[in-house]
């Protein structure tokens, strides 16, 4: 099957200037003469969240949230939350075991269950525990994700927004409201000296209510939480099936490497390649704050919106070599990050990157964590993952995202 496709720019960005060259995309993303241009229609879901604010206010908000990604916090999430949650999801999958001891599952659904729970922990949503509650919660995240990326939807955009706002109201009733209530109570106790700082939950919502800013509107934490939930689970859910299918093909072509399926460093590089090749959205959009002339002479007028097509930029042969369009876990990229623009660039570079890749890049100071991609892939190999040759994965038809919609797998060793 075809596992690497070319990007077809969706209607939403036709008619605006496109940049596909690595150096120009880099120039735009890091320039202070542009602001965020994505999520114009999805304001009801993401408005004023970290992703959509720029410069001074962005700095302050990002500064507030950065402690969630300190080394100790990352170690805590990985050891105390992620690893047990992976085991739990695999354990639960046994309900679909046949007489031969083989579990049939859908990889997308399985990964979504694992990631929904870890997203809930980092965001601060309680009660995502039983399979039923997790199912309900991940359905909410998926729907919120549809609202938050309405720009790329093939359905009528107004209908999508209306429908998903109704869904969000239910989500607030069932999950968000009670979680916020509990946090406000515990923060009050902390302020009264009844609770120590260490006892406060380590999550986004606690941080926001603890350091409340009077310039914020009351719904801002809900939109920020929506950003965290969608940005953390949808992206990783998108990346992992690509990683697994590329590894499957790689092992077919290089059987001598099959034993490396338990090798964390090999898996790490495979993860980097998968996210380099398969970006979480079709483009990163930016709006010029003044008239700008780029280094190649292109003029962009004040207020003009441009699209950085990071899929072709991440397959730029001048940067990643002649085989840039293919998956190669042995690729060396001495001058650039191995994932290229997968986590964006400039101020808005993904705040959650270290959760995904672990503290593994050359600037992360320390080893210490391996991140979600490696840990989940490793657990799947230990569980004996096999792709069913008679029932191959298929892409989603619901949006312009380069994502699998259905991915049947067998687990032979749960």
């Amino acid at each position: 099957m075809e596992t690497i496709r070319d990007l077809v720019p969706p209607p939403h960005i036709q008619g605006i200037k496109h940049f596909v060259d690595y150096a120009l995309v880099d120039e735009i993303l890091k320039s202070k003469d542009f602001r965020q241009g994505s999520h114009q229609e999805s304001q009801p879901f993401f408005g004023d969240s970290l992703l959509t604010i720029d410069h001074d206010v962005h700095f302050e908000r990002r500064r507030l949230q950065a402690p969630l990604f300190r080394k100790e916090a990352l170690e805590y999430y990985e050891r105390e939350e992620l690893l047990p949650l992976i085991d739990k999801a695999l354990e639960e999958s046994k309900t679909n075991m046949d007489e031969d001891g083989v579990v049939r599952a859908d990889l997308c659904a399985l990964i979504r269950t694992m990631l929904a729970r870890i997203s809930a922990v980092t965001t601060g949503i309680d009660g995502v525990d039983t399979p039923e509650r997790t199912d309900a919660f991940r359905t909410y995240i998926e729907q919120l994700g549809t609202g938050a990326t309405v720009e790329w939807s093939v359905e009528d955009h107004d209908d999508v927004i209306k429908r998903i706002l109704e869904v969000r109201a239910e989500f607030v009733k069932e999950f968000y409201g009670p979680s916020v209530e509990r946090r406000i109570k515990i923060i009050d106790k902390f302020k009264d000296g009844e609770v120590e700082e260490e006892e406060l939950p380590k999550d986004l919502l606690t941080l926001m209510y603890l350091h409340w800013n009077d310039n914020w509107d009351e719904e801002l934490p809900l939109r920020e939480a929506t950003l965290y939930l969608v940005a953390s689970s949808q992206t990783t859910t998108h990346a992992l099936p690509h990683m697994m299918i590329h590894l499957h093909e790689w092992f077919q072509e290089h059987p001598e490497d099959y034993e490396k399926r338990f090798d964390r460093d090999f898996l790490k590089q495979a993860g980097h390649e998968a996210i380099r090749l398969h970006l979480p959205s079709p483009a990163l959009l930016r709006i010029a704050l003044k008239d700008v002339t780029l280094s190649d002479g292109t003029n962009i007028a004040e207020g003009e919106r441009v699209a950085c097509l990071f899929t072709p930029a991440n397959r730029d042969k001048s940067v990643f070599g002649d085989d840039a369009r293919s998956f190669n876990p042995y690729r060396e990229t001495p001058n650039v990050k191995p994932w290229g623009f997968a986590f964006g660039g400039g101020e808005h570079t993904c705040i959650g990157r270290t959760l995904v890749t672990g503290l593994s890049a050359r600037t992360d100071n320390d080893e210490g964590t391996d991140g979600t991609l490696v840990n989940i892939a490793l657990a799947l190999y230990k569980a004996g993952i096999e792709i069913d040759p008679s029932d191959l994965p298929t892409y989603t038809e619901l949006s312009f995202h380069d994502s699998y919609g259905r991915f049947p797998i067998l687990l032979t060793n749960v």
Binding site: F69, G345, H348
Partner: protein, 66 residues
């Protein structure tokens, strides 16, 4: 961490010139007229520990090592 001597560095291939490190400590970092940040004190004393930790975690590209 206590006995560690800091070797503060910015990876210029990764730094995106946001200037966020300079906002945390203009003693340690500068970006005057340049595309990427420069380290001003390569071996800062422990008085700078909090700033170093904050800047390296806040740096959007995590280009700072210490």
């Amino acid at each position: 961490m206590k006995d560690k001597e800091f070797h503060l560095k910015v990876d210029n291939e990764i730094c995106q010139g946001t200037g966020y490190c300079v906002r945390i400590s203009s003693d340690l970092f500068s970006i005057n007229g340049r595309e990427t940040a420069q380290v001003l004190i390569p071996h800062p004393s422990h008085n700078y520990q909090e700033d170093i930790l904050e800047a390296s975690t806040l740096c959007p590209t995590r280009a700072i090592t210490y």
